[in-house]
């Protein structure tokens, strides 16, 4: 319990620091503070401008501006997005649903396949299968996500025509009429692209961990008792590598979030990743700040879950006897 409280406190302090850091960066950007909040092409009246200046304390020093912004943010008001002409929170909520589906699909996919492939590679170490898996993973790890996306688009969407070229639903259809099947159909290519980003890491990690376990003495003893290789893996291997593998997978939330920015802009998928690009290119400071904080929250959640799981799977950590 004490461990969790400590964790939460640490995360809160980090989150506060992230907001300060992000705000400072935005304040440093070569932009007029007022333009940053209402946009370059804004046609709002002088009175509304005055109101905005007062509301966000834009005439004040950066510290005063930060306090005004932080106060409003804590009340749940992140301001108005310039690019989407909607409250920032609405934009994030709406787009996060799409991104969540995408991230969940690719996260599960890379986790399950990566784990399975890693186990296979370790069991058949030095065989052709192992070499193929290892090489493929190396290539996957080194390939830029956006390039993989472009290739997938070119092969499966343009040349073969199996999948739609982009977006999250057929064009010109009302959101309420889009069926689940259509959504899934649009999701497959981006999700596969994102999985390729993560699968190499988890596979190589699982393989290495399992090899370490298989090299230890209790495995030698199990072999001497006459257990087959799959029996050994099932009884002794999986349990021991499950914790590190799950932890690595949860710790990959940060890469996943970066990955959606790239994958979504390739597939013009209307998620949070394409929103952050649009916000940055359109000089949309409120949205950029909102997404930065949201993404940090997302990463912290991943780390937090990994920590709790750690304790649940391995009681030594929960009791605090291990690693202090």
């Amino acid at each position: 319990m004490k461990r969790l409280v400590k964790l939460v406190l640490r995360m809160a302090s980090l989150l506060a620091a992230v907001s300060i850091l992000a705000f400072l960066m935005m304040a440093k950007a070569p932009m007029d503070p007022l333009t940053a909040y209402i946009g370059v092409n804004s046609t709002i009246s002088e009175e509304a401008k005055e109101e905005a200046i007062e509301y966000w304390n834009l005439d004040g020093s950066p510290v005063e501006r930060f306090l005004a912004w932080a106060g409003n943010t804590l009340k749940g008001d992140f301001g108005e997005s310039i690019v989407y002409k909607q409250p920032v929170l609405t934009v994030i909520k709406e787009r996060f649903q799409y991104s969540l589906a995408l991230m969940l699909a690719s996260w599960l996919c890379s986790g399950i396949f990566g784990f399975a492939l890693g186990v296979l590679a370790a069991v058949y170490k030095d065989s052709i299968l192992d070499k193929v898996i290892k090489s493929v993973c190396l290539v996957f790890q080194s390939s830029p996500t956006f390039w993989v996306g472009l290739l997938a688009l070119s092969i499966f969407a343009v040349n073969l025509g199996w999948f739609p070229i982009g977006l999250a639903a057929p064009m010109g259809k009302l959101a309420s009429e889009v069926t689940l099947g259509e959504r899934v159909h649009h999701l497959i290519l981006p999700a596969a692209t994102l999985s390729i980003l993560g699968i190499g890491k988890i596979t190589l990690y699982t393989r290495q961990k399992l090899l370490e376990i298989l090299g230890s003495e209790f495995i030698l003893y199990a072999k001497a008792r006459g257990e087959g290789i799959w029996q050994i893996v099932g009884r002794h291997g999986l349990k021991n590598i499950a914790i590190p593998a799950v932890t690595v997978q949860f710790a990959s939330f940060s890469e996943l979030f970066g990955g959606i920015a790239l994958a979504e802009s390739v597939f013009s998928y209307p998620g949070i990743g394409s929103a952050v690009t649009a916000a940055g290119l359109g000089g949309d400071v409120p949205l950029l700040l909102g997404i930065a904080i949201f993404s940090a929250l997302f990463v912290f959640t991943g780390n937090f879950i990994a920590n709790i799981l750690y304790g649940a799977i391995d009681p030594r950590i929960k009791e605090g006897g291990f690693r202090g």
Partner: protein, 279 residues
């Protein structure tokens, strides 16, 4: 693998080969970038969208520019950004890592907190934020990539230095009245150098890849500069009409750079790690 072959093609030779391959590739990329004159990829409206051929190995783009030279020039730009930012990030990491481990206490906690902070924001989002702060462009991408690649390496250096902090020769050195900076410089840095340098080698491909990603999203090099990210984001508009060569080859150049460096780094790591030395 049969015995004879494994004696010749052993790990040391593999490592040497992978390092030479990576170095050669980088050198060729850099040199090519310096030697290529913009005339070689100038606009030519007679040759718009030419598929790969003998004259244009990578084809041409929507303005008839030769994709081979443009991509090569872009690769050298990426390598230069990678070199510069790796240099900056690795120096930051060494300084912070050593300071955290040697000084301990508040310094250690502060450095750890900074590392956590930097890793708490998704890397790409942090890159975009910094680039946005610098007003995008070449300056933005350089600052972003240079200032965000130190956290992992800092952790590595800190962990390595912590292991030798209690060594007797280090303690003896303190007793002889050396300051912590002197001890760190003359006893600790040389000790962690191999691991540190491998970390730097493995950092390099990340920096290159992130440069391309930031540029691809429009936060890096402007459109008139040849860069892999620019070329690929241009190709996005034409891929739906079947101009596959505009995306395939430039990406392949980038992939090769990252892959070669990664393999070289991993080989080096295995060679230095005593646990896997006898495999």
């Amino acid at each position: 693998m049969d015995e004879e072959k494994s004696i010749f093609w052993n790990r040391r030779r593999q490592t040497a080969c992978s390092i030479w391959a990576a170095v050669a590739y980088l050198a060729i990329g850099l040199l090519a970038g310096l030697l290529i004159s913009p005339q070689w990829y100038q606009v030519d409206y007679h040759m718009v969208f030419a598929p790969p051929s003998f004259i244009h190995p990578f084809g041409t783009d929507y303005m008839g520019r030769d994709m081979f030279f443009r991509s090569l020039k872009g690769l050298s730009n990426s390598i230069m950004v990678g070199l510069a930012s790796t240099a900056v990030s690795s120096v930051i990491a060494l300084a912070l890592g050593v300071a955290a481990a040697v000084k301990g206490g508040v310094v250690d906690r502060f450095v750890n907190w900074c590392v956590d902070l930097c890793m708490g924001i998704p890397h790409l989002i942090l890159l975009l934020l910094i680039s946005f702060m610098m007003g995008r462009g070449a300056k933005g991408v350089l600052a972003a990539v240079a200032l965000t690649h130190w956290p992992e390496l800092t952790r590595l250096v800190r962990a390595e230095v912590l292991q030798i902090c209690s060594a007797q020769y280090v303690q003896a050195s303190y007793r002889m009245g050396k300051s912590w900076l002197q001890v760190a410089w003359s006893h600790m840095v040389p000790q962690v150098l191999p691991v540190y340098l491998i970390g730097v080698v493995l950092l390099f491909p990340h920096a290159i890849m992130h440069e391309a990603a930031v540029t691809f999203l429009g936060f890096g090099f402007p459109a008139e500069v040849p860069a892999i990210g620019v070329v690929l984001s241009e190709s996005m508009s034409y891929i739906a009409t079947g101009k596959w060569w505009m995306a395939v080859f430039p990406g392949l150049l980038l992939l090769l750079a990252v892959l070669l460096l990664d393999v070289a780094g991993e080989n080096l790591k295995r060679l230095v790690n005593p646990n896997s030395g006898n495999e």
